[in-house]
């Protein structure tokens, strides 16, 4: 046997070892994780303790000054409150609608697929600038919503001129996009064995009772999944506020992500913006952890699959 073939067989043996195969296939992720997640997070942590701004050569270490400044920053505190309000109202409403409509659309009918598509449309296009601009127009002073109010004989509302009201059109827009959660719920509903319902019907259970005692518990792992994903997404809402209100009036819709963006790219306070990002990361980790911890009490059949 020539030396050459021996060499290639060594190489091919190396290439076919599970360890090598695994690392080769996982390489895109490993590379991406290190470059596009890990390094940025560490960099962000470093900058959070500096006064770095773009264009400046050096970043001076200023200790926890950025974090202390956060506590006295009125806009920051306001934005935190607004974001919490937005999340607390929009996420439960969105999931409730998603579940309700998914449940309503479980009938065996050829039209159901068409209906599902219909209700999915807002999710499909809702994230776009195009729809955000439409929304802005719908709630304008002479917009469609005010026309409806006037038509019903009610007084019109200056939606985006009122600090207290401006957030609600944004919340409504988020709830409107319940379609993607609905489809996930619909897939879960299909998995519930019909014999559960048949048994309950024999025992004389009503529709509401069946929903409460069969549907909800069976769906609870999916509810958990949707809850976590939607909460994270809602905390980071940006495009709507940026396009529709720009954070106004009087910072009434200054969502957290928009505030971070402004600090970083409008005022060039990079260090400060990094501190804000890290603060958000900690807050969200705590909230996500709390949701997972609470799931012990309301999610059934966890770990059955594993």
């Amino acid at each position: 046997m020539s030396k050459n073939t021996e060499k290639t067989s060594v190489i091919s043996r190396f290439l076919n070892k599970d360890q090598t195969v695994g690392n080769i296939f996982a390489f895109p992720f490993i590379f991406g994780f290190v470059c596009f997640s890990f390094i940025p997070i560490i960099t962000s942590f470093y900058y959070a303790f500096t006064d770095y701004s773009m264009g400046s050569k050096t970043a001076t270490y200023i200790g926890a000054a950025n974090f202390i400044k956060l506590l006295h920053d009125e806009i920051f505190i306001k934005s935190l409150g607004i974001t919490l309000k937005y999340v607390l109202i929009s996420v439960p409403l969105k999931l409730a609608f998603a579940l309700l409509i998914a449940f309503v659309l479980t009938r065996k009918s050829r039209m159901v697929t068409v209906y599902r598509s219909l209700y999915y449309v807002p999710s499909l296009v809702g994230g776009s600038v195009a729809v955000a601009l439409v929304w802005k127009q719908l709630f304008a002073r002479k917009g469609l919503f005010n026309s409806v109010l006037a038509g019903l004989g009610l007084s019109t509302v200056n939606w985006f001129g009122d600090t207290k009201l401006a957030l609600y059109p944004l919340i409504l827009m988020t709830v409107w996009q319940f379609g993607s959660s609905m489809i996930i719920f619909a897939a879960g509903l299909k998995e519930i064995p019909t014999m559960y319902y048949e048994a309950a019907r024999i025992d004389g259970a009503g529709a509401w009772q069946m929903f409460k005692s069969i549907t909800i518990p069976c769906l609870s792992p999916i509810i958990l999944y949707n809850l976590v994903m939607q909460t994270i997404q809602a905390f980071m809402a940006f495009t709507q506020a940026f396009v529709i209100t720009g954070g106004g009036p009087n910072n009434g819709t200054m969502m957290y992500a928009l505030n971070v963006y402004n600090q970083a790219f409008k005022y060039n306070h990079m260090g400060y913006a990094c501190a804000m990002s890290w603060f958000m990361l900690v807050v969200m980790s705590i909230i996500t952890l709390m949701i997972f911890k609470s799931s012990k009490f309301w999610v059934f059949g966890e770990g059955d699959d594993e």
């Binding site: 076919n16 599970d18 195969v21 695994g22 296939f25 996982a26 895109p28 992720f29 490993i30 994780f33 470059c35 596009f36 997640s37 390094i39 940025p40 997070i41 960099t43 962000s44 309503v104 659309l105 009938r107 039209m111 598509s117 219909l118 209700y119 449309v121 807002p122 499909l124 296009v125 994230g127 776009s128 600038v129 195009a130 729809v131 601009l133 439409v134 304008a140 002479k142 917009g143 469609l144 005010n146 026309s147 409107w176 489809i183 996930i184 879960g188 999916i222 976590v228 980071m236 940006f238 940026f242 971070v260 970083a264 790219f265 913006a273 990094c274 990002s277 990361l281 969200m284 699959d305």
Partner: protein, 280 residues
């Protein structure tokens, strides 16, 4: 009794359709707005039928800004979206195969990292990522908008792994006995069977990327490299009066690719999410 059931059924369908109509009303209103003149749009009329059918919105809108037409903006969007989607499919399927089918040291660790990135809000790493690209001199290019997508997207890796769970391991074993390497198994067995999951990925990634606003907003500063969503926003930013008709016309056009993909692959989407079993 039978009549009662039929009436109940009828009421059900009417209610579902009526509510569905309300749901898509804003989208229909936008489409009809693309044929209305500005005065009619600003009056806030509920009507979906334009008083004077004005096709001119499309031509004025298409002409774009500062000599750059919407043909360019749509082309830019399409290139970014298509390349990023392709990257997502290739890389995510590779990584999913490694995590789901290959025993190697570090698998658990990297899998945990992947779950963590799934819950990591993009905005947290937005600023440092930007600074890094800026230092590399690539901040004003398509690279930051495309390259990360060739490194696997956690959400889709997870989905594909769930799907692979449903592909019998016996197929792999039989192929191994026949002398197939792991590479051949991936290419000849797993990839073809993964098709439904890949289609779901293509649809979802396509419209996420097509609608993406924040990424282009951060990284693209030259008007000739703008995507359609950035360009549409420019209608609203115009110093002079906003041309709503033209804005809605281009908005309508920008949604057509999303609708087309949805209509063609609708079936896959609804079933794909179902079979990928997010039960985890």
């Amino acid at each position: 009794m039978k009549a009662k059931i039929r009436i109940k059924k009828l009421i059900y369908h009417i209610l579902v359709i009526a509510f569905g109509f309300v749901m898509i009303y804003p989208v229909l209103w936008m489409i009809s707005g693309s044929f209305k003149d500005n005065a009619e749009i600003l009056r806030g009329s509920l009507s979906l039928i334009p008083k004077n059918f004005k096709l001119a919105n499309y031509t004025t809108g298409w002409s774009g800004f500062s000599g750059i037409s919407f043909a360019r903006f749509f082309l830019n969007s399409f290139v970014i979206t298509a390349v990023a989607t392709l990257g997502t499919v290739i890389s995510s399927s590779l990584v999913a195969y490694a995590f789901a089918r290959v025993e190697f040291k570090g698998r658990k660790f990297w899998f945990t990292c992947m779950l963590a990135t799934m819950m990591l809000p993009g905005q947290v790493i937005m600023i440092p990522s930007f600074l890094i690209w800026y230092k590399l001199g690539l901040a004003d290019s398509y690279v930051p908008l495309i390259l990360p997508y060739f490194c696997g997207q956690a959400f889709f890796i997870y989905q594909m792994m769930q799907f692979m769970k449903g592909i019998p391991k016996e197929l792999d074993e039989a192929a191994t006995i026949d002398g197939c390497s792991k590479y051949a198994i991936y290419a000849n067995i797993i990839l073809p069977l993964l098709k439904p999951s890949i289609v779901t990925t293509v649809i979802i990634q396509f419209y996420w990327k097509w609608d993406d606003y924040m990424g282009p907003l951060l990284y693209l500063s030259k008007p000739e490299s703008y995507t359609a969503s950035l360009a549409i926003k420019m209608f609203a930013d115009a110093a002079s009066k906003t041309d709503y008709g033209a804005m809605f016309a281009m908005s309508t056009l920008s949604l057509i690719p999303v609708f087309l993909i949805f209509l063609i692959f609708n079936r896959y989407l609804v079933e794909g999410i179902g079979t990928s079993g997010l039960k985890g």
